[in-house]
Amino acid sequence: MNVVNCQKVSKGFQRTNALEDITFQLTDQKITGLIGRNGAGKSTLLKILAGLTKHKSGEVSVFSENPYNNLMVSANSILVDDQMTFPDSLTLEEILGSAPDFYKRWDAQLASRLFQYFMLDFKQQHSKLSKGSKATFNMIFGLSTRCELTMFDEPTNGMDEAARTDFYRALLKDYIAHPRSILISSHHLTEIEHLLEDILLIHQGKVVLHQSLDEVKEYVVAIQGPIIDVERWTEGQEIFHSKNVDGQRLYVVVKNNSKLERARLEGAVIQTLPASEVCMYMTSETKGGIDDVFK
């Protein structure tokens, strides 16, 4: 059953169009990575799915209901982002204490054990936390709610390296213990690549690809070789990135297809790329990347 189903969703603020036409489905109990560059519309999409903002056109359904201002969706989904605020008259302990009221599957043990592990201070007030510990607290809060749809919007920015790896480990272990649909929006795909099952790549408000991690890896291939050969092998195909290595050798990133098998036999050096680079090249404006700036 589809947890999330978006059909041609668009959302714009005044002039800019944050989301143009988003169409994808999320089947349940999967960890999906929402990847995209800054301003690609990730946060807007997450807020729409969490029912916090209204989308302009198209049709969104979470748990087959319109999420906007919907009680059932709000009860079964949680969006963890840095705009999460809690009343500053309550200490962190009291905030965690009042969560079971709202979330039926709240796990108090997990919350307090994580709390102690990450060495947060119970008596502290949420607004006085540092950026890192606020992100950690929000993450602990999000995890312990065990909502059927848990969404993280750049959960780890502000966290230090150790906290980040611990968080991903905790997320995986809790996901294994209690499977649910998790949507993580992040910039650094390399860190969470091992966690993800699917990748939803968004660029300028449109869905570029929505496939499993391995398909993304095989989606694009990098070829390196003498300029003439490389051009022969790759003419007529969509080139995502091309870089002149040392005057006569060319490094080109191009869509994977059968023609390349023949190129391999002719001695072309063909490599698959890690998913993060694949996403990066597929969403880059210029073919040459940053080098064009210095041309």
Binding site: K30, I31, Y168, R169, L172, K173, Y175, I176, T190, E193, H194, L195, L196, E197, S212, L213, D214, K217, E218, G267, Q271, T272, L273, P274
Partner: protein, 123 residues
């Protein structure tokens, strides 16, 4: 064996190979239950689905068989099949790479055979 995430080989293939090595090293005897996808995910800190994919490859190659509700079990002659597969698939692939490299370095066939003999004596 730590999963080499940024290597070009997909993780699920690495998982399958690790399982095959375990079977060759007889950590898993015939008809013995192998790790489930969740145990593998926990062990290698990867997504259960990727681990499951690794297991499905081995099921397709008949080295493992699935018992409904119980999990994956090692096929009786799994070890033999893996050795044989390694011999003609992976070994031949390695050999073609060596030959390609030799041609590029313009090394003649005889020199190559001598090299293999020398290397044989050392191991």
């Amino acid at each position: 064996m730590i999963i080499n995430t940024d290597s070009t080989k997909p993780i699920y293939v690495q998982i399958a190979e690790w399982l095959e090595n375990e079977i060759i090293a007889e950590c898993f005897m015939a008809d013995e239950k192998v790790y489930s996808q969740y145990q593998l995910a926990e062990l290698f800190n990867i997504n259960p689905a990727t681990a499951a994919k690794g297991l499905t490859i081995l099921v397709e190659e008949m080295t493992l068989y699935k018992k409904r509700g119980l999990g994956m079990f090692v096929a009786p002659e799994a070890k033999m099949m893996i050795l044989e597969k390694r011999r003609n698939e992976t070994l031949t692939k390695m050999v073609t790479d060596i030959v390609l490299e030799a041609k590029r370095l313009s090394v003649t066939k005889e020199e190559l055979i001598q090299l293999i003999h020398k290397c044989e004596e050392e191991i």
